[in-house]
């Protein structure tokens, strides 16, 4: 590893080199953990001074020793046995949409699921663990799933064009077929089980208007039939099915107001029969198949039920008014998608009505259910018997009922289960049967809940439950844990001295490689279960925190950073669908109240921002959540929309942070709505600026506040705004694809940077720096469709207060996607270079030239310097840019930078690669001052020789041998310990660890052997004593001589 130039003494009086990472100043700063080196040097000095040795020699030595202590620390890379000590990894699959049980054979019982997050996975039915899992591409949505031959899972994806078979035991893809088609249509997949054709199961797949018969052994297309070709109109196939033990495939569909049925020969694909009938009323909405030759749908007005029977090509329509069947119904009804025989469900405004078909032409209401309810498809569990499950919510309990689909009144099973109210309503039910020891039939139900979690119910109990809502995190923040209070008993960590010593002796044995396999296991268990890391109180180093995440389901989870467990969860009432707000979506979370000075006894709280609906002009929803109790404190339904949320750097007397909400109409609204907040805000009114990026119009605007709203003068918390500046990019040549700003809470230790020959430069540090990347309008599309000549990438650095463009740079022959990160005085961005056909990363560093004269010590002593003059956006900055580019091997999904408590520790870039790993790359590799042959002085400073590409060192993967499947974001949070950053990477999976970019110079590592230290000290004391006795004797002898 290249850490040669890391350590150096402070070289000038007025500045401290923070770039190089570890200097002695930093070392002293780390007050708390100093004792390692001190205890050593003290014990040394003690022993040595006793021996009356030359002091100077000893001092040099202790310097040497402390240096050696550092260099001998393990680097940021892990040893294999350290996995799980400070990191945790959780795997999720997302909200389940298709389920296939595989329980026929003895052995591992499993359930194969596909989800809305585009995952196909095989789960253990006993415990809910993942056997295997695949995340398909973003455009490769899974449409249908089934099992063929008892060993292959078949998926139809990419709007019905890709058919894949996965091996059931290990998830290996067996074959893949590309299905041709011309126009979008419904997707459909069916496996013909009883169709013996050389022991092959034939798959029938419908996609893009074409019906395909595919062999399930190798994916070969046996025949294909373009259904849209059969008729001239816009035919929409609704269903394809084949009766058991039949060679005929049926397809039914609508074309405008015509109803079509087709019959095909299953072996050859030959069209046997085609019949059409016109229905004047037209069709709308869902379709429910009551039996193989009767279906129910609604007419175009939605007020009549249409019963269509199409036996043997003869089509009959029958129209029934809904209010004739369900007297009290009003409003629009819709048919719920069911797959039951003889029964279908109709949802009216307040209730679900089950209707039954009698004698093939009469409809009858079976039951009307007013509770929220959901039901499963019919499952045939023994000969001719079909059952389905019905789940109703009754208070906080759910009632699971299993019914035979031909006999409504008798229940096969009735269970009532207590359900966590934070899981919401049951949305989907899937049932499976098994044979009990007494040869009766038992049933298990897999349910999907409102918060996207998955649960298995069996015999009136919850067998397992998975929090799969965590697969779709929208936003993350962190919160401190409560302080350890007096009187609250501290978890018994050190049981007694003997145990403690025993543990350390075990560890010592481990380090000396003397431990037996049993001992090693004991050591590993001891390290992993350490109760220290999962305590519910704040720790000295700031490693224990709460991760607060908002998921797509509108649920807030608090995860403990120590072991990743869910401390509390809350399904936000304000983000659940209701009459007033049909489709609420969560947007982001903000720290609302972080008590530390005045309101120490208050619990911290967060602000959850959401909106009712998908458009940015939908009215907003605010919710305030207590972070310790996990309860919603209050919620607000706003009259205005939310386009932007600006947390202001002011807090009121209860430490509530002021937030400015900008609506789509350009008005600003202040929260909290208290007179105190208003007073604080009004005094700061002229100093508040913000900017907005209109990506679709390629405009960036700067705004400031004007006065109170003109429209609504009674609302004193509403302010009108004015445009200060705008940058309009020429839309024919440039298109905004990426922007980046500095993190609001980033801490920079020093503005000065020592370069070679004891020289100093000053970083240009501004909070108001915006990075904007634009590409040629065509460059917006993916790689592969552009030539280098017609693409370019332009990057800008803009001051967001004045709109001044500080820097502009063009990369010809490059294109997006662009990932960028800003920290301190530098920007790093990643893009694709079409000429070299490789990814590139560039760095821009910004230096403040106006302070460059402050190098003279005498001037500073005489006060002739401008170091204390404020940095203002209004003064024209004399900035100097330095830039350099390097090749980088991989695509990058997301990029982040480490952040530490005081900003002293050197930075690392955290790069989420296309392989779903997180790579920690030292910032020193992205230093514009790198040259091919650095001078001696530069080498001493730690500048690396220039290479054309950035190195990828496998040991520097933060995620080591794990993958954060579907990686979307990386959050870095400083720990209290200056050397350490907490890293949380999320996507489909969650991964948490802590890293030390300059290694843990301020604390002992996990595997530090206290016992060895103790033994050494004892040995030293013994040696002192022995030598003392010896020297006494020698002296005595000399005196006698």
């Amino acid at each position: 590893m290249v850490y040669s130039g890391d350590r150096r003494l402070p070289s000038s009086e007025f500045s401290q080199p923070s770039e190089a990472g570890i200097s002695y100043v930093d070392f002293v700063y780390s007050y708390s953990q100093l004792f390692r080196s001190l205890s050593l040097s003290l014990s040394l000095s003690l022993s040595l001074s006793l021996l009356s040795i030359d002091m100077a020699v000893m001092l040099r030595l202790s310097v040497l020793l402390t240096l050696l202590l550092f260099s001998l620390n393990p680097s940021s890379a892990l040893y294999e046995d350290q996995v799980g000590l400070m990191d945790w990894h959780q795997q999720y699959i997302g909200k389940v949409k298709h389920v296939v049980f595989h329980t026929q054979k003895a052995g591992r019982k499993r359930v194969v699921v596909s989800t809305e997050e585009n995952v196909i996975a095989s789960l253990d039915l006993r415990r809910g663990e993942i056997f295997w899992r695949h995340l398909l591409g973003a455009n490769d949505t899974i449409d249908e799933m089934d099992i063929a031959l008892g060993k292959y899972v078949i998926t139809l994806s990419s709007v019905g064009t890709i058919l894949r078979a996965w091996n059931l035991p290990d998830g290996q893809m067996v074959w893949e077929s590309f299905l041709q088609g011309s126009k979008p249509s419904k997707k459909f997949l069916s496996v013909m089980m009883n169709f013996k054709m050389d022991k092959d199961n034939i798959l029938f797949a419908l996609g893009k208007g074409c019906l395909h018969a595919v062999s399930s052994i190798d994916g070969e297309v046996l025949w294909r039939k373009d259904l849209s070709e059969l008729t001239t109109e816009s035919l929409e196939i609704q269903r394809v099915f084949h009766p058991v033990d039949s060679d005929i495939i049926y397809a039914v569909g609508f074309a405008d107001s015509d109803f079509h049925t087709f019959q095909f020969n299953a072996k050859t694909g030959e069209l046997l029969k085609h019949s059409v009938a016109a229905f004047l009323g037209g069709f709308s909405g869902e379709i429910s198949f009551v039996s193989d030759d009767i279906l129910v749908t609604l007419d175009a007005t939605g007020s009549h039920l249409v019963l269509i029977s199409y036996q043997d090509g003869e089509i009959n329509f029958q129209k029934t008014h809904i209010s004739d069947l369900v007297p009290a119904s009003s409003g629009v009804a819709r048919i719920l998608p069911t797959k039951l025989t003889g029964i279908f469900a109709l949802k009216t405004d307040s209730s679900v009505v089950f209707l039954r078909l009698i004698d093939g032409n009469k409809l009858e209401v079976v039951e009307k259910i007013n509770n929220p309810t959901s039901f499963s498809d019919a499952l045939s569990y023994s000969e001719g018997q079909k059952a389905f499950a019905l789940i109703q919510h009754v208070g906080s309990r759910i009632q699971l009922t299993l019914k035979l689909d031909n006999d409504w009144n008798s229940n096969l099973l009735e269970e009532s289960i207590e359900m966590d109210p934070q899981k919401g309503l049951v949305q989907k039910v899937f049932i499976n049967n098994y044979i009990r020891t007494d040869r009766s039939y038992g049933f298990r139900a897999l349910i999907v809940l409102e918060d996207h979690s998955l649960m298995l119910l069996q015999q009136g109990e919850i067998v397992w439950s998975r929090e799969d809502g965590l697969a779709s995190i929208i936003d993350v923040t962190t919160a401190e844990l409560p302080l350890e209070k007096e009187g609250v008993s501290v978890a018994k960590v050190e049981h007694n001295l003997f145990e403690w010593l025993k543990g350390h002796i075990l560890k010592l044995k481990g380090t000396l490689m003397l431990a037996s396999p049993g001992d090693i296991a004991a050591i590993q268990a001891m390290r992993l279960k350490s109760s220290e890391k999962s305590k519910m109180t704040r720790d000295h180093n700031g490693f224990r925190k709460l991760l607060i995440v908002l998921t797509r389901a509108g649920k807030i989870f608090a995860l403990h950073t120590g072991d990743g467990r869910v401390v509390w969860s809350l399904l936000l009432p304000s983000l659940r669908g209701s009459e007033a707000c049909q489709y609420p979506t969560g947007i982001s979370i903000y720290q609302w109240q972080v008590p530390h000075h005045h309101a120490m006894n208050e619990n911290p709280s967060i602000l959850v921002v959401g909106r009712c609906g998908l458009g940015s002009d939908a009215p907003g929803v605010l919710s305030f959540v207590d972070l310790y109790t996990g309860k919603e404190l209050s919620s607000l339904s706003l009259a205005h929309s939310i386009a932007q949320v600006i947390p202001l750097p002011f807090t009121d007397s209860t430490e509530q942070r002021l937030h400015l909400l900008i609506d789509a109409g350009g008005h600003a609204h202040l929260y909290p709505r208290t007179s105190e907040a208003l007073k604080i805000f009004e005094s700061e009114l002229p100093n508040i600026y913000w900017y907005s990026v209109e990506a679709e119009k390629d405009i960036i605007r700067g705004h400031a506040l004007h006065s109170n709203c003109i429209l609504d003068e009674t609302d004193e918390y509403c302010f009108s705004t004015r445009d200060l500046w705008s940058i309009v990019f020429p839309s024919e040549s440039e298109k905004i694809i990426s922007t980046a700003t500095r993190k609001l809470n980033e801490v920079v230790h020093t503005q000065a940077k020592v370069i070679e020959d004891q020289d100093v430069t000053f970083k240009y540090i501004s909070r108001n720096l915006l990075f904007v990347a634009t590409v040629a309008p065509k460059g917006d599309s993916a790689i592969g469709s552009l030539t280098p000549e017609e693409s370019w990438l332009v990057v800008y650095l803009i001051d967001t207060i004045t709109g001044r463009i500080l820097h502009r740079m063009t990369h010809l022959g490059s294109q997006g996607p662009v990932q960028a990160v800003i920290s301190e005085n530098w920007v790093v961005y990643h893009y694709f270079n079409l000429r070299a056909h490789r990814f590139e990363m560039s760095v821009i560093e910004i230096y403040d030239q106006s302070r460059a004269d402050n190098k003279d010590v005498w001037k500073i002593l005489l006060g002739k310097h401008n170091l204390t003059s404020p940095v203002s956006s209004y003064s024209r900055p004399e900035v100097v840019m330095k830039s350099q580019s390097y090749f980088f091997t991989h695509s990058v999904k997301t990029m982040s930078v480490t952040s530490t408590a005081k900003g002293i520790t050197s930075k690392q870039l955290l790069i989420g690669t296309i392989g779903d790993q997180v790579l920690a790359l030292d910032k020193r590799y992205l230093d514009p001052r790198r040259s091919i042959n650095p001078t001696q002085a530069e080498k001493e400073e730690g500048i690396l020789p220039l290479t054309d590409s950035l190195p990828i060192i496998p040991q520097s993967y933060v995620t080591h041998s794990l993958q954060v499947e579907g990686l979307r974001g990386i959050l870095t949070v400083p720990a209290k310990l200056e050397s350490t950053t907490l890293v949380f990477a999320y996507g489909m999976d969650l991964f948490f660890t802590r890293i030390a970019p300059s290694r843990t110079y301020d604390s002992l590592t996990e595997d530090f052997s206290y016992a060895l230290l103790l033994i050494t000290i004892v040995a030293l004391i013994a040696a002192i004593f022995v030598t003392w006795v010896l020297s006494e004797k020698k002296e005595l002898r000399e005196k006698w001589r």
């Binding site: 002695y24 993916a782 050494t1016 030293l1020």
Partner: protein
């Protein structure tokens, strides 16, 4: 081994889709714009059998153009991308434990069937689309086995070692020194005062 090599030497399939599926020619011509890119991933260490992939690579993903399309490996290591437009594309392999170079693949519209592929890392051009890892990746530091040297090199070992040197060698050195020189050095020390640990650490006085 020789035979398996022959078997694996299958050239890249790059055809117009309707060449692969003759039945489609009659039906559509406008919507089937794309080409098919097929290739295979080959890992050397898979042993003599040659056809089954090692367990850890069977979870690999093949990614086209930075996530535009994702494909998976068949048991024999083959993969395909369907419906790819003409142009210069980039294929990446994401497999834990291996480092693969991205591959640049040119799909030309003028002469279908002709393919050009090159590793972007070392600009080596490929005559067929067979992707091999450049190296295996080791994500963990390897613990060095216990040795006397490592014990001596540890801070404690160094301390003990130094102490021994001081105890046994220093007196010898002192003996060899000129007594006058020692006296002078001691004089010097007295004038300077005794240095302390605090002086050693420059920031200590300040903080």
């Amino acid at each position: 081994m020789e035979r398996s090599k022959q078997l694996t030497c299958i050239s890249i399939l790059l055809h117009l889709c309707f060449c692969l599926l003759p039945s489609t020619i009659a039906i559509t011509s406008g919507s089937t714009e794309g080409y098919t890119i097929s290739g295979r991933v080959k890992v050397e260490s898979m042993g003599a059998k040659g056809f089954s992939l090692p367990a850890k690579i069977s979870n690999a993903k093949i990614i086209l153009n930075g996530g535009q399309k994702v494909s998976f490996l068949r048991p024999d290591g083959y993969f395909s991308f369907y419906n790819v437009p003409a142009g210069t594309h980039l294929i990446e392999v994401a497999a834990i434990g291996y480092f693969f170079s991205p591959v640049r693949v040119d799909v030309s519209a003028r002469n279908p069937g002709k393919v050009q592929a090159a590793l972007t890392e070392n600009r080596r051009s490929l005559s067929e689309l067979v992707l091999e890892p450049l190296r295996e990746e080791q994500y963990f530091e390897i613990r060095e086995p216990f040795s006397v040297l490592s014990l001596i090199k540890s801070p404690m070992g160094l301390m003990v070692g130094f102490m021994l040197i001081v105890v046994f060698l220093m007196p010898k050195l002192m003996e060899n020194m000129d007594p006058e020189e020692i006296k002078r050095a001691q004089e010097e020390m007295r004038t300077q005062g005794v240095p302390s640990i605090a002086n050693l650490l420059p920031g200590a006085g300040r903080s």
